[in-house]
Symmetry: C2
Subunit: 547 residues, 2 copies
C-alpha cells in the first residue's frame, strides 16, 4: 500500500447521494463512475432535467483518464453529452450500455466525437494506477455491472444499481463468486446501493410478473397496452414472452421505445423472433384480441404515448372501450399525482387499467434489506459507504450494517460534495467541494439560478400586474390613461372593479408628484393595495416614462 | 314506497368522488352530507384550498333542511364557513365533531351564526321526509358515524369514512349489529368508502402502533417529537399512553394541535391526566429524556411546526442532536416529495427520524378489501355505489363487489355531478349538474378560473419579459431606449448579450413603422427570437405608447 491519498468524490447536490457521478482520485489520476441526470422535483418550475455540477472535474480535466458507466439508465448516462463537451476521455461500457449511449449521442449528433470502448463483465481495465474489474449484477436492465477498483491504497468495490435475482429474465445472476473472491482479497471500502433500504425482506425476482402478464393477456378480449420505461429492456422480453405464449403480436410505440428495442435486439439482449413483431400500423389493423402495444409513458409524462392517450392527444390511435392497459412501473417519488391522474383518465376513456398493487405487474430493480445485508456479508468491507439514495435511505442502510455488527466508525453516511479520503488504510473526511446541481431549461444550462427559480415561484403563486404610464415631461401629468395588464392574478372580465380601483390608485399616487422615486413609490403602493383587497401578492411591475 | 324520485347528488369536480359533499333529495327536501374541502394538487399553483362548487344547492337553498356531518376531518367539515354564508340551516354532528367545528367557526368569528345540534350514534333525526339514523364507525378520529337514511323511496346507507377495527383505541367498535339490522330492513343502496380499494387484506388496528411507540419512547435518550395530523385525536391518546408508561411528560405544540386536544379533553374523548401534560415552555426546561412533544406537520407543510423545524425556522426551539422524531402519518398522495425532503432535512439536523415503513408508527383509518367485502356482506344492499376515492379506487371497489356475486347492473361507478335517481326501487342515471371545484386563493373564492391557472403555469415555466417603448407621435421614433425587464426567465447579470440582442430586435422592428399593429408584431417577433435563442417560452408583454 502507498501512503498517498485515495479520494472518493460524490458529485452533485442535495438529492440522491453518490448516484449520478462519482470521481475516484489517486495522485494525478481520476476516473469517473457514471455521468447521469436527475429529474426535477415538482417545485423546480420549468426545468427539463438536472445535471451534477462537475466544475471539480473541469478544473482537473487534465487528470481525468476515463469514464466508466455501470448500466444504461438515464440517471447514470444522461449527462454524457454535457460532460463530453468539457471532458472528452475514453468511455467504458458493456455492449448494451454502449448501444444505448450511442442512441443518445446520435440524436444529438455527438456520436463521432465520443471515444466509446466496449468492455464486458469479467474484464479488467487498466487505467493509470487503477485496475477496474467489472462484475455482473442483476438490475432492471441487462448488462449492468458493479466495479472492483484496485488502487495503490486498497480495493474499492462499487455495487452499481443491483438486486440479487436468482431467476433473472436473461438467466444471468449476479456474480456471487466474484464478490466472495473480492472479499478474500480484502476490501477497503464498499459503496453500495441504498435505494430500497427502507424495504424489508428481499426484492421479488423479475420473473414473478410473468404469470400476471400471461393471465392479463389471456383474459383481455381487446387490445393490451403495456407502458413501461423505454430502458426497461428485460420487461420488453417478458412482454414478448407472454405475447408469444398467448398468441398476440407485439408492436413498439414511441421513438425511444422503438430505438432501444432495435438496439437491444441487434446486440442480442432481446430475444424476440421477427415473426412476433409488427409495426404499429399493422397492429392497428389487426383484431384487437391479437395485439400488444408496448408504449412509453408509465410515469404519465404529458409528451409520452400514455400521457397523450390519457388526454386524447395521441395522433395514431386512441384508447377504446375494451382496451386493457398495464402500467408496468412504480411512480417515481414526486410523480404519484401525475401517474394516478393518468390512470383515472384512462379509466374514464373506457379502458381497464391494471397497475401494482392491483396485480403484480412490476417489481423493483434494487436490492431490499436482506440483499443489502448479504452484499455486506459477501464483500466484508472494512468501510461501508452507503450511496444511491436520499439521506434517509443511507441512514437506514447504516442501521442495517450496525445491526450486523459493523462498528459506527466503519460506516460513513455522507453527502454529495464531501470528499472521502483513505490514507494508510484508514478513512477520513476531506474537504467539501463546491458543487450542487445545474438546471437545464431549454437550451440554457446553468443559467437558472436560485433567484430566477424564486421569481418563477412567485409568478406561479399569484401572477403578475404590469402598469405603464407616460407623463408629460413639463407638467408631470399622464399623457394617456395608465395601461394596466394582469396575467395569472385575477379573471379580468370579472375583476373590472378591482382594475378600476388600481387605476384610481395610480392617479392618486401620481398626484403626489414624486419625481425620481415615482416607479418605486407606485410599485409599493399598488402591492399594498392589492394585498389588502385580495390577500394575494402578484409581482408588480411599474414603468413610468416621461415624454 | 312512493313513486316520487329519490335523488343522490355527489357534489364536486374531478378528484375524490362523493367525498366532500353529497345531497340527498326527495321532492322538495334536501339534506346535505358533509361539507369538506380538498387540498390543491401540485399543479394548482398558488391555491390555498378547494371547495366543492355547490351552486346546485344555492339554487335550491329553500329546500335544504339540514347538514349532517359524519366526522371531524377537514375533508368533511372544512367548507362549513363557505356553506354557512349561503345556506344557514341546522347542522347535526356528534359531540367531538361539533367541538372541532366550533373551534373552526370560532376562529373565523362565525360561531354565533351557526345552528349547531349535538347528536349521538344511535340517535334518529327526523328531517322532512327523511329519518337519519347515526351508527358508530371506527376511523382515525373518535366519534365518527355512518348514516342510515330512511326515505319514502327506500333505505340508503352511507358508510362514512370507516374501518373495522376490533381493538380501537377508544374501545368503541363499529356497530356491526346495526349494520346487520339495517340489512334485515332491506337496503336500497349502500354508498361505501373506497379509499383503500387497492389494498389487499384488512387494515391493521390502530393498536398495532402502540408497541412501536413504547419501544421508541424507551430507547430514545433524548427528546421524542411526534408529528401527526392535529385532528388525529386517537393518536394523541396513544402518545399519551406510551408517554405515561415510559415516564415522559407530554406537550402539545402548534395552535391547531393545542386547540383540538383541549376540545377533545374537555368533551371526554381524550383521557389524559393533568399531571401528564406540560406546556412547551416547561418541556423545554426538562431533561430531554423526560419529554414528548406532539407537533403538527406530518405532511411537511412549510408553516407547520415540523416544516419549520426542518428548515430551522421554528422560533421556540430547534431540532437537536439526540432528538428522535416520529412521523406518525403516511404522505397524502402528491405530498411524497415534500414529506421525504422534510425527513432528509431533519436527519441533516442531527435527529433520528422514524416513519413507516421504518417502524409501524402509522396505520390507515380506512377499510381495506376484506373489510369492504364484509361491509357489503353485512349490509347486503340492492345497489352498491362506491364513493370516497378516485375513479381508480371506485373501479376496484366495483370489482370486489362483482367477485362477491353482485350483478354488474347493481354496482354504479359514477362521477361527481352525476345525479343518481331511484324510482320504484330501481336506479337510473339522472341529469349531469354543472359543478366542479372552486379554488380559494387569498380572500378570493372562485375567481381563479382555468385560464388564470394556465397563465400561472406559463409564468412558472419560463417567466416573463416586459418591454416598454414610447414613440414620438410625429416621427414614430422611440423617445428613450426601450425598457426591458425580465423575471424568472434568465439570470440578468449573466444574460447581458441576450438583453442587448432583444433591444436590437425592438429597434429593428420599430424601423418597420407598423403603426396600429406595432405591439402585436413586436410581441410575436420577440417571442420567436427568444425561443430560437433559448428554447424557452416566457410570457412576453409589449407596451408601446405615443407621446
Amino acid at each position: 500500500m502507498s501512503n498517498e491519498v485515495l479520494r472518493i468524490v460524490p458529485i452533485g447536490g442535495v438529492g440522491e447521494i453518490g448516484k449520478n457521478m462519482t470521481a475516484i482520485e489517486y495522485g494525478d489520476d481520476i476516473i469517473v463512475i457514471d455521468t447521469g441526470i436527475m429529474f426535477p422535483e415538482n417545485d423546480m418550475l420549468g426545468i427539463d432535467y438536472i445535471i451534477p455540477d462537475f466544475q471539480y472535474l473541469i478544473e482537473r480535466r487534465d487528470h481525468v483518464r476515463a469514464i466508466v458507466i455501470t448500466h444504461g439508465h438515464e440517471d447514470h448516462t444522461g449527462a454524457i453529452p454535457h460532460v463530453l463537451q468539457e471532458i472528452n476521455v475514453p468511455i467504458y461500457a458493456t455492449p448494451l450500455t454502449r448501444g444505448l449511449i450511442e442512441v443518445k449521442l446520435a440524436r444529438r449528433g455527438m456520436l463521432q466525437r465520443a471515444q466509446l470502448n466496449t468492455v464486458n463483465a469479467g474484464d479488467n481495465i487498466k487505467i493509470g494506477p487503477f485496475t477496474v474489474e467489472l462484475f455482473h449484477v442483476c438490475h432492471s436492465i441487462p448488462d449492468a455491472v458493479g466495479l472492483a477498483i484496485d488502487t495503490p491504497a486498497g480495493l474499492i468495490v462499487h455495487s452499481g444499481d443491483y438486486k440479487f435475482d436468482h431467476t433473472p429474465v436473461d438467466g444471468w445472476a449476479t456474480d456471487y463468486a466474484k464478490l466472495a473472491e473480492l472479499s478474500s482479497r480484502g476490501v477497503l471500502a464498499l459503496l453500495a446501493d441504498s435505494t430500497n433500504a427502507d424495504k424489508a425482506g428481499w426484492t421479488p425476482s423479475e420473473r414473478v410478473i410473468e404469470p400476471a402478464f400471461e393471465q392479463i393477456f389471456r383474459d383481455a378480449d381487446g387490445r393490451v397496452l403495456v407502458a413501461t420505461f423505454a430502458s426497461l429492456i428485460s420487461r420488453m422480453q417478458q412482454v414478448a414472452n407472454a405475447a408469444e405464449k398467448m398468441g398476440r403480436k407485439m408492436a413498439f410505440v414511441g421513438m425511444s421505445m422503438r430505438e432501444n428495442a432495435k438496439m437491444a435486439r441487434k446486440l442480442g439482449y432481446l430475444d424476440i423472433p421477427d415473426s412476433l413483431v409488427v409495426s404499429v400500423e399493422q397492429a392497428l389493423k389487426m383484431s384487437p384480441g391479437q395485439v400488444v402495444l408496448m408504449c412509453t409513458g408509465s410515469q404519465g409524462e404529458p409528451a409520452s404515448i400514455m400521457g397523450r392517450l390519457a388526454t386524447g392527444r395521441n395522433r395514431q390511435f386512441s384508447v377504446e372501450q375494451g382496451d386493457t392497459i398495464i402500467l408496468s412501473s412504480h411512480p417515481i417519488p414526486g410523480n404519484e399525482e401525475t401517474v394516478y391522474r393518468t390512470i383515472n383518465r384512462l379509466f374514464e376513456r373506457g379502458a381497464e387499467v391494471i397497475y401494482d398493487p392491483i396485480a403484480p405487474v412490476h417489481v423493483s430493480g434494487h436490492a431490499s434489506q436482506e440483499e443489502m445485508k448479504l452484499l455486506i456479508e459477501l464483500v466484508r468491507p472494512k468501510y461501508l459507504i452507503p450511496v444511491h439514495g436520499e439521506l434517509r435511505h443511507l441512514r437506514q442502510h447504516r442501521l442495517l450494517a450496525l445491526e450486523m455488527g459493523m462498528k459506527e466508525e466503519n460506516v460513513l453516511v455522507t453527502g454529495n460534495g464531501q470528499v472521502i479520503e483513505f490514507v494508510d488504510g484508514n478513512l477520513r473526511l476531506g474537504e467539501r467541494i463546491p458543487g450542487g446541481y445545474v438546471f437545464v431549461d431549454g437550451s440554457g444550462v446553468g443559467d437558472i439560478v436560485p433567484s430566477v427559480m424564486r421569481d418563477r415561484e412567485r409568478l406561479s403563486n399569484d401572477g403578475v400586474v404590469i402598469v405603464s404610464v407616460v407623463l408629460d415631461k413639463f407638467t408631470g401629468d399622464p399623457i394617456h390613461s395608465p395601461v394596466i395588464r394582469t396575467k395569472g392574478f385575477v379573471y379580468e372580465p370579472e375583476a373590472q372593479d378591482l382594475l378600476e380601483a388600481l387605476e384610481r390608485q395610480v392617479y392618486e399616487a401620481l398626484g403626489r408628484n414624486l419625481n425620481g422615486s415615482t416607479e418605486r413609490y407606485l410599485t409599493d403602493r399598488l402591492r399594498g393595495f392589492i394585498y389588502n383587497e385580495t390577500q394575494r401578492r402578484p409581482m408588480v411591475f411599474v414603468n413610468v416614462q416621461k415624454a
